[in-house]
């Protein structure tokens, strides 16, 4: 298990190197440079800034330098936010993005699992049907469409909630709701299906036959076994929530990392583009690794070698 984890972690190095190389190439293919503005810099000044940031060197040399610095934890500076280290900007943005993502994750895991479990325990009752209907509709409404509907109702008409910004709990309600409905629905579906399957197992019948209390059956036998497939989907959902809220950040004007990335491309802010992409690639790879390890922890039948 340890060897497997180590091998997967080592594998992160070539993956990141490739991601860096591809991003670097694409980024330099975007026409124009960081100092192309409506009002052109004097040629001498432009030469000076390019020398300062090493942009006068050949592109392959710039890449090698970047990788060397990045390995030592130096992701360079942003060209736009005068000399602010990329690391700091990413970190500031990530704190906001991750807070939003984690809030949405908590909501969707708690709500989704409860809905799914309740639906399975009360199969073919009104509760079950309501939960299935919600899960079906919720799974196909895009987050930003929902976000807009929320904005229309609660902000434009009722004036209950602020339409944009970040920092107060009122500002968090709509973005978190918009972001968590789809994962909630998805988790509810998977939980219900998995619990129903476990309920048919012989060991549940045995537990009932020997007169165990229902709460013990549910908690010790049903939930523990039924959670394995749910874990499978929570991993990608976590990665999706932490990285995938660009559009929601845009919609609600939240100062997360997504806004920086979109604007850094149009500004050819090379350091920011590279930093954000590498940062996210790391998050995605690590999230997948954690999920794979969790499987083995939850389900002793799974072995890695």
């Amino acid at each position: 298990m340890l060897a497997y984890t180590l091998r997967r972690l080592l594998w992160l190095i070539p993956v990141l190197l490739f991601v860096a190389a591809i991003t670097f190439t694409l980024m330099h293919l975007v026409p124009g440079g960081p100092w192309d503005r409506a009002k052109r810099l004097p040629p001498a000044a432009q030469a000076n800034v390019e020398e300062k940031y090493g942009l006068d060197k050949p592109v392959w040399r710039q890449f090698v330098n970047y990788v060397f610095n990045a390995v030592q934890g130096d992701l360079g500076v942003s060209y736009r936010s005068i000399n602010r280290p990329v690391k700091d900007i990413i970190w500031d943005g990530f704190k906001v993005t991750a807070t939003l993502g984690v809030l949405a994750l908590i909501v969707s895991v708690v709500l989704g699992m409860s809905l799914g479990l309740l639906a399975a325990l009360r199969q073919n009752t009104v509760l079950d049907y309501a939960s299935v209907t919600f899960a079906t509709i919720g799974a196909s409404v895009p987050s930003f469409v929902l976000g807009m509907l929320l904005l229309i109702v609660f902000s434009a008409y009722l004036h209950w909630l602020p339409s944009s910004g970040w920092g107060t709990w009122k500002q968090a309600i709509m973005p978190v709701t918009a972001l968590s409905v789809l994962p909630t629905a998805y988790i509810a579906r998977v939980t219900r299906a998995s619990m129903l399957e476990v309920l048919q197992q012989d060991y549940i019948r045995t537990a009932r036959a020997k007169g165990l209390r229902e709460s013990v059956i549910v908690l010790r036998h049903l939930v523990r076994n039924g959670l394995i497939p749910v874990l499978t989907v929570i991993g990608p959902i976590a990665a999706f929530l932490v990285t995938g809220s660009f559009i929601i950040e845009y919609l609600f004007a939240i100062p997360g990392i997504g806004r920086y990335f979109v604007s850094s491309i149009s500004a050819r802010d090379y350091g920011m583009i590279m930093g954000t992409t590498l940062f996210y690639a790391t998050v995605v790879v690590l999230a997948n690794l954690i999920v794979d390890i969790l499987y083995a922890v939850v389900d002793p039948r799974i072995r890695y070698n």
């Binding site: 490739f18 079906t136 196909s140 895009p142 469409v145 807009m148 229309i152 434009a156 559009i247 979109v262």
Partner: protein, 299 residues
């Protein structure tokens, strides 16, 4: 032909007279047609496709004609869904948008399927070293955050019609490649493939008669689930200014344009978002139905 029937053929013929022969796909089609939500989804998509094809016939006005005496109108007899900020008929734009959003859905999946199939088949059939190479390639593509890749690609090559298809296809293939490889590898271990090989079937024959048909089911399901993702991705890109450029009336563009007038005419956002949501829901219904129909063991 006086040739004697081979035992296998004789058995098949004998069975045919007593039980109706059922193919996997015939069976699946019957199960699918009994699934009410799946059929509803299919009906919605067929209606949308018909609207898309017949767009020039059912449009009420030229979708890009700007009627300055009728800006931001509410729905009425003349303008069924009202007009936008520039006085363009929202119904006509929505109908023409169906053409674009549906083609985005299907064509991106075609791109993704082409790449995913090539990589997945190579990995599944090519032996260990090719498998390793292909899967590491897939790992890299998988680690790339979708939306970042999309934004970069479209910034490099410009948000034109073809690039949108290619870019969304380029971020969607890794899932398909993994799925196809996994299927091929596990199918190769099945007894019937072993039997075919023992009887001297060529690799090509095994590929086309055993491996491909049995991979088709899961791949179809994955492709159908990929369509709503693609429609969503186009809309999301339009929203941050990297989708199809105006005046092309893609649904993403309609939502984006409507968003700028969300306070004064919320119906603009409402109708276009509903169009996206209903289409995505319909494809999800079809995907669910297909999965249940093709895999009788699953729920």
């Amino acid at each position: 032909m006086a040739e004697a029937l081979s035992p296998a053929d004789a058995l098949e013929e004998a069975l045919e007279t007593t039980t109706r022969y059922r193919s996997l796909w015939g069976d699946a089609a019957r199960r699918f047609s009994r699934n009410r939500t799946a059929m509803l989804g299919l009906a919605v998509i067929l209606v949308l496709a018909a609207m898309a094809v017949a767009a020039p016939l059912i449009e009420r006005h030229d979708p890009s004609f700007q009627e300055y005496s009728a800006l931001q109108q509410s729905p009425s007899g003349k303008y069924w869904l009202g007009t936008d900020l520039l006085g363009r008929d929202q119904w006509s734009r929505l109908v023409h948008g169906a053409r674009i959003s549906l083609s985005v859905g299907f064509l991106t999946q075609a791109v993704a399927l082409a790449i995913g199939m090539a990589v997945g088949l190579a990995a599944g059939l090519g032996g260990r070293s090719i498998d390793n190479l292909m899967m590491r390639l897939t790992d890299v593509a998988y680690a790339f955050p979708d939306i970042l890749m999309l934004i970069l690609l479209l910034s490099v090559f410009g948000p034109n019609f073809i690039m949108i298809f290619v870019a969304i296809g380029l971020v969607s293939w890794p899932t398909l490649a993994r799925l196809i490889r996994g299927q091929i590898l596990s199918l190769q271990e099945r007894d019937y493939v072993l039997a075919a090989r023992a009887m001297g079937a060529t690799r090509i024959r095994i590929l086309f008669t055993h491996l491909m048909p049995n991979t088709l089911g899961p791949v179809t399901v994955a492709v159908v689930f990929g369509i709503p993702f693609a429609i969503f991705a186009e809309a999301a890109l339009a929203f941050i200014g990297l989708g199809l450029q105006p005046p092309t009336p893609s649904w993403g563009r309609l939502v984006t344009d409507g968003f700028s007038a969300i306070r004064s005419s919320p119906h603009l956002v409402l109708f276009s978002s509903l169009a996206i949501a209903i289409t995505m829901m319909a494809f999800t219904f079809i995907g669910d139905g297909l999965r249940d129909a093709l895999d009788p063991r699953g729920r």
